[in-house]
């Protein structure tokens, strides 16, 4: 089927952060220099071409944007200064919006004022809910001198709300993941994927989810920088996931009125996780502010919103803890409300609709790539042929 060229896609991608991508004259330097580009999944040039000619279907079915970790070498070596790295970044934003069937993601990305409005609106709702339904703000302290936070906001109620919100977000995210899966699989219509391939690929899914080790393949001039960037990102990831698990699964154990001794896991696990988050998010913000590395030079508003929300969540969480164990009752309650007013929009806006979603899409892209590879190998074996890379 011949593809009818359209010129809208490039405008979309420019709104999403692609810079002078029209300047690209398809020389392929970017693909040649990219340490992660392989024969069967060659990028960034392929993605640039899809954007230039408006091949939306092809772009939506591409896993390539998720395989790029933005080392920036392509942008640094581009003879036309077309910033391929920034295009890949914009393509990820585009895909997050495109996978989302509600269309909210796309709206949030295309207009940052909408995203900011959503965040503030949700925060306001949280505050209103607390004002209306929160428990009494007692100044009575526990035996250890801690604030009775669970009187103000009982953990079992918060927990239920957590689960309700988590369930909703999970449904949204998973339905988007399903669309992503369908589009990617449609790229190779002749490929029959046996169930076994999906199961065998799960190891890849978990490895990449927990380690982001693909990133370390960004070798080249800046190997040390890559490792440092990966480590900072890992701190954010590990701290975030730890806190997420504590809050969603173990809230009753985590949000206690009792002040545990310092060697109690509730305290040191929390300290390590928040410390990692603080370090990771803080240095990410500083790097984007300083614009030294290619990948930090052009931040989209959505990048800032995500990092600032994370930072505020972390800081307010830490403050709640400090105020609580020191018996500052009102300060505890106010920061708790602030903490929730930041945390809720951070999750609702970011998880299914914005930057957070890459936590799911990146490992799933690598997983589907692995599944496709295995399916191809199986198909080749049954056809008694050697596996052949797809045309690049």
């Amino acid at each position: 089927m011949a593809h009818v060229v359209n010129t809208d896609l490039v405008d979309d991608l420019k709104t999403l952060g692609a810079r002078q991508i029209e300047a690209c004259f398809n020389c392929g330097n970017c693909t040649a220099v990219c340490p992660l580009s392989k024969d069967d999944v060659a990028f960034p040039r392929r993605i640039i071409r899809y954007v230039q000619t408006g091949m939306k279907d092809r772009l939506c079915g591409s896993i390539e944007p998720w395989l790029c970790y933005y080392c920036g070498q392509c942008s640094e070596t581009c003879p036309r200064n077309a910033k391929p790295g920034e295009l890949m970044m914009a393509a990820r934003r585009y895909l997050i919006g495109a996978y989302d069937w509600t269309g909210i993601g796309r709206r949030l990305y295309l207009d940052s004022r909408v995203e900011l409005g959503a965040v503030l609106g949700l925060a306001a709702i949280v505050v209103v809910l607390f004002v209306l339904f929160a428990g009494p703000m007692t100044t009575e302290l526990t035996a250890e001198g801690g604030v009775k936070l669970n009187t103000f906001a009982p953990a079992r109620v918060i927990e239920l709300l957590d689960w309700g919100m988590g369930g909703l977000l999970a449904v949204l995210l998973l339905s988007n993941v399903w669309r992503m899966h369908r589009w990617i699989m449609r790229r190779e219509p002749g490929l029959k994927v046996p169930l076994g391939a999906y199961i065998r690929g799960l190891a890849t899914l978990f490895t990449h989810f927990f380690t982001q080790k693909q990133w370390l393949g960004c070798k080249g001039a800046g190997e040390r920088i890559t490792a440092t960037k990966w480590f900072k990102h890992f701190c954010i990831f590990a701290g975030y996931v730890t806190m997420f698990v504590l809050i969603v699964v173990f809230l009753r154990w985590f949000q206690t009125d009792a002040v545990h001794p310092i060697w109690h896991p509730q305290r040191w696990v929390g300290y390590i996780a928040t410390g990692a988050l603080l370090y990771g998010v803080g240095s990410a913000l500083v790097a984007r502010w300083q614009k030294r590395h290619e990948s930090h030079k052009h931040s989209h508003p959505s990048d800032w919103i995500f990092l600032v929300l994370l930072l505020l969540t972390t800081v307010s969480g830490i403050l709640v803890h400090l105020f609580r164990i020191n018996g500052l009752a009102y300060a505890t309650y106010v920061t708790y409300v602030i903490h929730m007013a930041v945390l809720v929009p951070m999750l609702v806006v970011e998880v299914p609709f914005s930057k957070w979603a890459h936590l799911a899409y990146r490992p799933i892209a690598l997983y589907l790539q692995r599944v496709q590879q295995q399916a191809r190998e199986t198909q080749a074996r049954t056809a008694n042929l050697q596996p052949q890379p797809v045309q690049s």
């Binding site: 300047a23 071409r49 000619t53």
Partner: protein, 628 residues
């Protein structure tokens, strides 16, 4: 230039020959044993001096030769070095410095035809060098001192074509004090450039450019302008051309104002051909040409864009939103893919200017109408010239979308859908050969340049044309604006597709060359011309049909034993020294000065009798087939 020296050589005097073998800094001596060549050649009779030098063309090398001529009383010189194209003239001058007639010199090429050609066989190459030098020595036994031929000439040039090339050539020639007659077929000067609304890289209009030159031409009393005039007849030779011109009124072109052009005779010394090019005319249906009204050629689009009002480009009453540019229309054609032209050949050459023209126009269109969607269909982008690449970059940055096709699978133009009148369908190699469809409102065919159909002029001037039908120069690098006819030069796109900048450079080059040829009241020609020994000529006339150069051989009547006989005589101005007349002469009355039959025979003797260094080498070289 070499001038005849006062030195007179007695041909009968015993030959005293100097042989000089050049190492060429290793270029020769890395393969050929130059010392052995010099040593062995001493055995050839008449060789008095035989020497080797690392760079014979250097000042010390030349000085050595001049000194030896005086000291050793040499009366013949051989230099074995590079191609005579490079240094024959150098050594003729060196020989004259020594007080010897410069034509008592022979140049042997042992580099291009020796060390470079036989680098795998040093012994064979050495033997070959010895044989070639021996042949040259033998040839010199029969050498005579020669003088350059000096003919009176007109210090006036004819420029054919009043386009930008002709105008520029005329201005330059006049500035050097050479009179110019500028002949233009059309009633107005200016040619094709007048139709170009906007030129790269200066962005001024063609008319502004032409007006400037026309003003200079018209204000110069040294330039005579004949518009509405064509060339009717050409005869003569360098320095002495007789031209007949007349009104351009062609049959059936009644009513064309010839501007008072009338028949006229001109005498000029040199001719500059600046007749320009034609645009390629696409065949019916080629890229939808004439099948869809929305397919236009580049010259048409240039007018369209120049005439567009502020609210957009209109074509046939339709507003244009999406424009495509098709490169290589009528250029880089492939046999079997594209239909042949009138002469059965395809235009396989690149027209060179179309890529930059497309991008220049695209950038301009995008700047005027930013909402215009512009698409570019190319095989390659060849923005080769100074600043041309800028247009490519700017076109990209302005959002022109590029598609690349393979020459053997050109895009198709078909009827459009969804409100678009036409669409282009192609396999886009920038997208891995995927088939893409581009709906368009207008498709511009970047037509290439083709040679003008100038058969009459070609016949009159007897100029060679290349396979591309353009006029051909003698050598693209060494003699880029000269034709094989002495005194006829090329300027501008009559020679090949070129940009206006290149056209102007070429016009200036042709003007300079013509000014050199006409620098004096006479012209000097090499003495290698046929010569008739009147005593031997029996007037049989066999030589006349052999001569391909009209007027080079003439009949002359002389008194012999009381009777008037008709003999052959050579006009040295027209003789090119091809030698075609020599072998048919039954009495050997006709011969070529400097290349006589005797000399050829002597060279064969020299080749065969050359002393060879040792048996071992000889036998080996025989087995390599190096012997003659």
């Amino acid at each position: 230039m070499i001038r005849g020296s006062a030195q007179v050589e007695s041909v009968a005097s015993e030959p005293r020959i100097g042989v000089y073998v050049c190492r060429c800094g290793g270029n020769i001596s890395d393969v050929i044993d130059t010392e052995k060549v010099a040593e062995t050649i001493k055995l050839v009779p008449g060789v008095r001096v035989s020497k080797v030098h690392s760079f014979m063309c250097s000042e010390p090398g030349q000085a050595m030769i001049a000194e030896d001529i005086k000291k050793e009383q040499l009366n013949r010189v051989v230099v074995a070095s590079c191609s005579p194209f490079l240094h024959e003239l150098t050594f003729r001058v060196a020989v004259r410095r020594g007080g010897l007639n410069p034509y008592l010199y022979e140049h042997v090429n042992i580099r291009e035809q020796g060390s470079w050609a036989h680098h795998g066989d040093p012994e064979g190459a050495t033997v070959k060098a010895i044989r070639l030098v021996a042949a040259a020595v033998h040839r010199l036994y029969h050498a005579e001192p020669l003088e350059q031929i000096r003919l009176p000439s007109h210090r006036r040039a004819l420029v054919i074509g009043g386009g930008i090339a002709g105008l520029k050539a005329a201005v330059d020639l006049a500035a050097k004090g050479v009179g110019v007659v500028l002949v233009e077929r059309e009633p107005e000067l200016g040619g094709r450039v007048l139709g170009l609304a906007r030129l790269f890289p200066t962005d001024d209009s063609g008319r502004a450019q032409i007006d400037r030159l026309v003003r200079e031409v018209c204000n110069n009393p040294n330039i005579e302008v004949l518009t509405g005039t064509v060339i009717k007849g050409v005869s003569g030779f360098l320095g002495n051309y007789d031209i007949a011109v007349g009104p351009a009124l062609a049959a059936g072109a009644a009513g064309v104002d010839v501007g008072g052009a009338k028949d006229k005779k001109l005498s000029v010394g040199a001719i500059i051909v600046a007749t320009g090019h034609d645009y390629y005319r696409p065949s019916l249906g080629e890229y939808g040409f004439k099948r869809y009204t929305q397919v236009v050629t580049m010259p048409e689009f240039i007018d369209l864009l120049a005439g567009a009002s502020g609210d957009g480009i209109q074509w046939n009453g339709q507003r244009i939103h999406r424009i495509g540019f098709m490169h290589c229309v009528g250029s880089r054609q492939i046999e079997g893919i594209h239909p042949p032209q009138g002469d059965g050949k395809v235009n396989d050459y690149c027209s060179r200017v179309c890529c930059t023209t497309v991008l220049h126009q695209a950038v301009h269109a995008k700047r005027r109408f930013p909402n215009l969607a512009v698409f570019d269909f190319h095989q390659d982008i060849r923005t080769y010239g100074r600043l041309h690449e800028d247009y490519y970059r700017r076109a990209s940055e302005a959002g022109v979308i590029f598609f690349r096709f393979h020459g053997d699978d050109p895009p198709l133009v078909e009827e459009g859908v969804d409100g678009f009148p036409i669409q282009v369908r192609l396999k886009d190699w920038l997208t891995w050969g995927e088939e893409v469809v581009v709906p368009l409102d207008l498709l511009v065919l970047a037509v290439g340049m083709v040679a003008r159909d100038n058969r009459e002029l070609v016949n009159l001037l007897k100029l060679p044309t290349g396979a591309d039908r353009f006029f051909q120069e003698v050598h693209p690098k060494l003699r880029p604006v000269e034709t094989s006819v002495n005194g006829i030069l090329l300027a501008g796109s009559a020679q090949a597709p070129m940009t206006i900048e290149e056209t102007l450079a070429s016009a200036s080059a042709a003007a300079s060359k013509a000014a050199c040829l006409l620098a004096h009241d006479s012209v000097e020609l090499e003495p290698f011309k046929a010569r008739v020994d009147a005593d031997k000529c029996i007037g049989c006339g066999l030589c006349f049909p052999e001569c391909a150069y009209e007027g080079a051989l003439v009949r002359t009547s002389v008194e012999r034993e009381g009777k008037t006989v008709t003999l052959a005589k050579v006009n040295p101005g027209l003789c090119v020294g091809c030698g075609a007349c020599v072998p048919v002469c039954p009495t050997r009355a006709i011969d070529l000065q400097g290349w006589t039959l005797n000399q050829f025979e002597a060279m064969v003797d020299g080749l065969l009798s050359a002393p060879l260094p040792s048996k071992e080498v000889t036998s080996e070289s025989s087995s390599h087939g190096q012997t003659h």
